[in-house]
Structure formats: structure tokens, C-alpha cells
């Protein structure tokens, strides 16, 4: 594989309706290989992803989006990846925005590049971002964006044991990267509204509460001073 191949990791749980189109769209970009991580879906997520040309790895137990992403990163590392981008399976991240992200990542000025869309989301999400920024001391604006590019150094850190204990890819992972001295930069992109309209984390009140409490504790305990 040529050196500058980017492996795109897509964690997917029950996304049979959108994953095929997402994968097909990504293959319009140059020098990419797509790995879809089927997080113990009971629908046809894996089948649809394969049909669109992605490599699919299937988890036998549901691990959640972050650990599924980590599985994809471990696979990418095994295949010799020097750069991995993460993209959501629900169609929020357009091929155009992924292209913009990869262009910035190729410049090599930063270890991690985040595609940020501050216009998306409700007032509640904005409030949540402000709160978690305060608790964690992170200067980033879009804390929950799943559109990111990681270089080899970031990959090796995130594929390791210390990153497995995190539940979400947001604040905790960003603090982990920061603690190890990796540079993180945000670039503006436009994201689409979700295909089916409901958020994974902000879906039910219980999951919102769980996310908020977890993220606050992580922010406070893992803050880099």
C-alpha cells in the first residue's frame, strides 16, 4: 500500500440504512481504505458495508462507539496505517468534509485534526460543550465531533491499553492526547443533519445524564493543569 493511504474507521451499530452510502461516498476520495467496525449489530450493517466495498470487522459483543473505533484503529495499525480518520456511519460527515479534513491532515502540522461544526446541534449541546470545556480545561470548541484524523503517533497511543478504559471518544480521549503532548487542531467543516434524526448519546434522558456525569468526572479527574 502506498505510504499516504488513509484508513477511514467507521464504528457502526445498527446502521444498515446509511452505512452503504457513506462507504461508497468515501471511496470517491483518493488514497483511502475504509474499515467498518460492526459493533455487534443484529441488522445488515456488515453486509451493506461489505457490499459498498469496505473491509468489515465484527465485534462479538457490543463495546460502544469508542472501543469499536479502537478496534478499527488496531486493525489499521496491523495493516500498516500511518494515518487514520474516523467518520460516523449515519451520514453526518459528507465526503467533501472528510476530504477537507484529510487535506489538512496531510500537511502534517498537527498530530490530530478535528472537523468542527459549531452550527450543528441544539442550545443544549452548546451548553454541554461550554460546561465540559470548563471542567476539563480543554480549549477546543467542538468537543463531541466524531470527524477526526490521527497521525501514527496519536494512533499508537489510542490503540493502547490506557485508551481502552474510556467510554466515549470525547473529553477523556482528548485529555489523554493532550497529556501526552500531542497537538490538536480544529478546522471548520459543514456537517449534515443525521439521516434518522436521533442522536446516539443525546437519545434518551438516561443516556444524556450518564454522558454528562461521566464527562464531568473525567474532566475533573483527568485535567491537565
Amino acid at each position: 500500500m502506498p505510504y499516504d493511504t488513509t484508513y477511514i474507521v467507521i464504528p457502526a451499530h445498527e446502521e444498515e440504512r446509511s452505512v452503504g452510502a457513506v462507504v461508497a461516498g468515501l471511496y470517491e476520495l483518493p488514497h483511502v481504505r475504509v474499515i467498518v467496525v460492526d459493533d455487534a449489530s443484529r441488522d445488515n450493517t456488515a453486509v451493506e458495508a461489505r457490499r459498498a466495498g469496505a473491509e468489515v470487522i465484527s465485534l462479538c459483543t457490543r463495546l460502544g462507539a469508542w472501543r469499536a473505533t479502537q478496534a478499527g484503529m488496531r486493525r489499521a495499525l496491523f495493516l500498516g496505517a500511518k494515518r487514520v480518520a474516523t467518520v460516523d456511519a449515519d451520514g453526518q460527515h459528507t465526503p467533501k468534509s472528510v476530504g477537507i479534513l484529510l487535506e489538512e491532515a496531510a500537511k502534517g502540522k498537527s498530530d490530530v485534526v478535528i472537523g468542527a461544526d459549531l452550527a450543528r446541534g441544539s442550545a443544549f449541546r452548546m451548553l454541554a460543550w461550554r460546561l465540559h470545556r470548563k471542567f476539563s480545561g480543554l480549549a477546543l470548541r467542538d468537543l463531541t465531533s466524531g470527524l477526526r484524523a490521527y497521525n501514527a503517533k496519536a494512533l499508537r497511543l489510542l490503540a493502547g491499553r490506557s485508551a481502552t478504559s474510556y467510554l466515549y471518544q470525547d473529553v477523556g480521549i482528548l485529555l489523554l492526547l493532550q497529556r501526552d503532548g500531542l497537538s490538536i487542531v480544529e478546522i471548520p467543516v459543514k456537517m449534515e443533519r443525521r439521516d434518522d434524526g436521533h442522536s446516539r448519546i443525546f437519545g434518551t434522558w438516561a443516556s444524556v445524564l450518564r454522558y454528562m456525569v461521566y464527562t464531568m468526572i473525567i474532566g475533573i479527574t483527568k485535567r491537565n493543569h
Partner: protein, 110 residues
């Protein structure tokens, strides 16, 4: 009395492999302590006087409570480590299956 019953139960559980030996060590110590305190009340009274507590029995309860708290904490720490291992194993299985697929498709290409 409780100490004797608890101690016997613990030994039985270890024998039947329901309780791993290293956990058993903790509980046996706990059992003996309970036995000791039960058979020798003056020990508790003496200690209570030493630290200035007027109602002696509460000291025994306090010690038991703190011991239980520590045990629960250690238990949770163990569980957390176990979870990380389990998650990495699930990932590993998926990675190994992917490698098998790699090899199988190489085979069929020949």
C-alpha cells in the same frame, strides 16, 4: 458464633472453587478477627478506652465497616481491570477473525 459459621462457610466455598483463594485469604482474616473480637470482649473495651470512645461496641462495628469499605473498593478496582481485559479480548477476536479472512482469501487466490 457468627465467626465460626462464617469461617466454615468460607472454607467450604474455597474447597468447592466458588471463591478464589486470594479472596479467601481476606475473608479468612475477617473471619478470624470476628472470632477473636467475639471471644475476647476486653480487647475491644481496651482499645475503645485507648482512643477515647465511651461506647465500646461501636468500635467493633466501625472497624468492620471500614474493612468492608476497603474490600468493596478493591473489588471495584479489580472489576475495572477485568473490564479492560475483556474489551481488549473482544477486539482481539475480531482482529484474529480478520486475519483468518485475509489468509483464506490469499489461499483461494492461488
Amino acid at each position: 458464633m457468627t465467626g465460626i459459621v462464617a469461617g466454615s462457610a468460607i472454607l467450604y466455598l474455597i474447597r468447592r472453587d466458588h471463591l478464589a483463594v486470594h479472596h479467601g485469604a481476606w475473608w479468612i482474616t475477617a473471619g478470624f478477627s470476628m472470632l477473636g473480637l467475639g471471644l475476647f470482649p476486653p480487647l475491644v473495651n481496651g482499645f475503645a478506652k485507648l482512643i477515647g470512645v465511651t461506647y465500646a461496641p461501636i468500635v467493633a462495628v466501625l472497624i468492620a465497616f471500614v474493612a468492608l469499605l476497603i474490600k468493596t473498593l478493591l473489588s471495584d478496582i479489580d472489576a475495572s481491570k477485568g473490564e479492560v481485559e475483556r474489551h481488549r479480548l473482544v477486539q482481539r477476536i475480531a482482529l484474529l477473525e480478520a486475519r483468518i479472512q485475509d489468509l483464506e482469501s490469499q489461499q483461494t487466490e492461488r
